[in-house]
């Protein structure tokens, strides 16, 4: 190996080393920042007007307790000034007439169409009892699986009938 070649190789190796170092640094930075970036990107269901309102529920599969209908209210919740975050109230009608009431919090999205939430029982600060995993079909139309220990898995289509969360 000639010196020049060596030199060339050496410079080349230096460039490669530098490139690898930069790439590693970028990768490290990306890995470090990734969770926050994913969390930021996944929060919410989009702009408020795109999903706030009241929805009818049409059950495709009623689950263990035979859900036959219901209503979902999505609203911008503000307990105190400056604490606004969207949330949902899901009132399910069961075969035989019982009321079932659960609460949707911690809204997230997957890509352009995935719309997910945590389901809580008793209130928005109640225990986590299940998950809402939905897919946006069109503005105001969401197909979702609702899973809780009591309900099993309910498959339903939510169709918005009012853009106002208040009756």
């Amino acid at each position: 190996m000639s010196r020049s070649l060596f030199s060339s190789y050496s410079r080349s190796r230096s460039r490669i080393t530098a490139a690898v170092a930069v790439a590693l640094a970028l990768l490290l930075a990306a890995l470090t920042l990734a969770p926050a970036a994913v969390a930021r990107g996944g929060e919410g269901w989009g702009r408020y007007p795109s999903f706030i309102g009241r929805y009818h529920l049409r059950a495709a599969a009623g689950g263990d307790l035979h859900v036959v209908g219901g209503q979902l209210t999505m609203f911008p919740q503000e307990e105190f000034p400056g604490s606004v975050q969207p949330a949902g109230i899901l009132n399910l009608k069961l075969l035989g007439g019982r009321n079932d009431l659960v609460y949707l919090t911690d809204l997230t999205h997957r890509g352009a169409r995935g719309r997910d939430a945590t389901i809580k029982g008793g209130g928005f600060l109640g225990p986590e009892i299940g998950a809402f995993r939905g897919r946006l079909l069109a503005p105001g139309r969401i197909r979702a699986k609702i899973t809780t220990r009591s309900l099993g898995t309910v498959e339903a289509l939510f169709v918005r009938f009012s853009r106002s969360p208040t009756p």
């Binding site: 009241r54 307790l65 209503q71 209210t73 609203f75 911008p76 919740q77 503000e78 307990e79 105190f80 000034p81 400056g82 604490s83 606004v84 949330a87 109230i89 009132n91 069961l94 007439g97 019982r98 009321n99 079932d100 009431l101 659960v102 029982g121 008793g122 209130g123 928005f124 600060l125 109640g126 225990p127 009892i129 809780t148 009591s150 309900l151 969360p165 208040t166 009756p167």
Partner: protein
């Protein structure tokens, strides 16, 4: 007397004896008349008797044998039920319990089997609250003349058959779009149903109203505060909500109710003066709603110190003079003992939790008690045997920070409330004798006491904590004689009844909104009955052990 006369007399005697026997049996099918519902075996009203004392005259379970108490039956109340603030009533062999989604369950009081379920149509879409307000719970039904009366979250008063659960009528008592909601049990008396309304934090205008039991028609309405924009109430303001059933004194035809905070809740600049009739006990004519007197517990409130818990009536003798008196435990941490005829203090108010509060500021001020009390809606109990009332206390100081922004949510709270880091919420349980206003005994409790109390002629007082432990105290000494770990937080007081000669203690457990928001204990929803010789339940840690852990003693 002729032979015919003797026969008629014997017949009349037989009819009278039969009537007495029937009355003593009570209405086993739940459709009993108001006469039979006075039976000592039943728990026919919210507080068992008209005076709302929560005192049972039964004494099969007593200080000598309460350590033999065990579970008779236990039942869940339905899917996805996670809070339980229902105070049951028991008529004959039927126990009526409500769920946090406003259903009424009729349970066999001996087996726990569900006899029927009434499910109202309810719009829950305004159940938007987070920390404790505007959350759907239901505190029970009222009963009279074979009808049950229920208030639903969306402000409907409904009458249903006590026998079948069939709906008879429904009336709207307030507009849920204003933030008004219902969690209280109504009261029923003499053909009328008495109701109030919640929502002070949203600026709802509080009231007490009477409805006709037959038709559901409104008979009268007494507003507890002026209309928004008039008197002391600023535009958008209000307050004076009523959270628990009014107490009725048939002798004087008076109803007594406690009222809630003014709104905006913690900002007082735009509501000058005392802000009547907020944070007050009010006495109204039961037929007309006309105000007889008021007693304000917190003038110009800045801390959300409602007079939320229900009023208890009793007789006292002070300096040889017999009086009709009442007691109420406020969220401000004071027990008030008043002359029931005039509303005047009989004794200086008795503090039962730590009290240290100043006007809140924009920087934030630590306030004791915090805005959950003191004593929240928790009913006190009275025992004529000890002449004492038993008070549930919450020691939970909070930082109140004023904010002048108001957008949505609790539009009229006026700021934020925060539990400081490393806070350890605890409680008190205090017996106060009503003849002299002195503390008979007081117990530190390891958790906030949120459900209220119940006393019995067996010399006992029952109450439950947030760990799910039901305690039976000696009412005279405060000694713990028995405890059982149910593993679900208490947010209601037990009731006591008797069927076929067996006495039961019935507890509804599962926790309150406060339980969930402050993670004080396990939430859920169950109904558990106890009797002597029932299945043993775990005792849980002793009160001394639990207190040592809670207080670091």
């Amino acid at each position: 007397m002729s032979a015919r006369g003797v026969r008629l007399s014997l017949l009349a005697l037989a009819v009278a004896l039969a009537a007495v026997a029937l009355a003593a049996c009570g209405g086993g099918d739940g459709s009993s008349s108001s006469t039979s519902s006075e039976s000592s075996a039943d728990w026919p009203y919210f507080g068992r008797d008209r005076d709302n004392t929560r005192f049972s005259t039964l004494d099969e379970i007593n200080t000598d044998n309460v350590n033999e108490l065990g579970e008779a039956w236990s039942t869940g109340v339905g899917p996805d039920q996670f809070l339980m603030e229902s105070f049951p009533t028991v008529i004959g062999r039927t126990a009526y319990v409500t769920t946090s989604t406003d259903e009424v369950l009729a349970l066999d009081a001996v087996t726990g089997k569900t006899l029927w379920t009434y499910t109202p149509e309810v719009d829950f879409s305004q159940s938007t609250g987070v920390g404790g307000y505007g959350i759907t719970v239901n505190r029970g039904i009222a009963h009279e003349d074979g009808k049950l009366f229920l208030l639903t979250f969306d402000d409907k008063l409904q009458a249903i058959s006590a026998k079948t659960g069939e709906k008879l009528w429904s009336s709207t008592v307030a507009d849920p779009r204003t933030g008004a909601y219902e969690t209280m049990a109504p009261s029923a008396y003499d053909g009328k149903v008495y109701v109030g309304v919640s929502g002070s934090e949203d600026g709802v205008r509080g009231f007490v109203a009477a409805y006709d039991q037959q038709s559901g028609k409104k008979l009268w309405q007494f507003y507890t505060v002026p209309k928004a924009g008039t008197g002391w109430v600023p535009k958008g303001g209000g307050g004076g909500g009523v959270y628990m059933p009014p107490t009725i004194d048939p002798e004087t035809n008076t109803i007594y109710a406690g009222t809630g905070n003014p709104a905006p809740a913690i900002v007082g600049e735009k509501r000058p003066g005392r802000n009547l009739y907020t944070d007050s006990i009010i006495a109204l004519d039961a037929d007309t709603g006309k105000l007889k007197w008021f007693h304000q517990e917190e003038a110009h409130d800045l801390w959300d110190y409602d007079a939320a818990s229900p009023v208890v009536l009793f007789d006292v003798e002070i300096d040889g003079e017999k009086k009709r008196a009442l007691a109420e435990a406020g969220k401000n941490g004071l027990l008030f003992i008043l002359d029931a005829e005039t509303g005047e203090d009989l004794f200086p108010p008795v503090p039962f939790v730590k009290r240290d509060h100043k006007p809140p500021t924009t920087k934030g001020v630590l306030e004791c008690p915090g805005p959950v009390g003191g004593s929240q809606y928790s009913p006190i109990a009275y025992s004529p045997e000890t002449q004492a009332v038993y008070v549930s206390g919450i020691n939970l100081c909070m930082i109140l920070q004023v904010s002048y922004e108001t957008v949505n949510g609790e539009k009229q709270f006026g700021g934020d409330r925060v539990v400081p880091k490393d806070t350890n919420p605890t409680g008190t349980f205090t017996a106060v004798t009503v003849d002299d206003g002195k503390v008979l005994w007081k117990r530190k409790m390891p958790t906030p006491m949120h459900g209220g109390a119940t006393t019995s002629a067996g010399g006992l007082v029952f109450t439950g904590d947030q760990q799910g432990i039901l305690y039976a105290f000696d009412a005279a000494t405060g000694d713990v004689l028995w405890q059982g770990d149910i593993d679900l937080a208490f947010a209601a007081a037990p009731v006591i009844y008797e069927v076929d000669g067996t006495e039961y203690v019935l507890a509804t457990v599962g926790g309150a909104a406060l339980t969930a928001s402050e993670e004080l204990g396990e939430v859920g929803a169950r109904v558990v009955a106890f009797k002597l010789g029932g299945k043993q339940v775990p005792t849980g840690p002793s009160l001394a052990e639990a207190n040592a852990k809670a207080f670091g003693d």
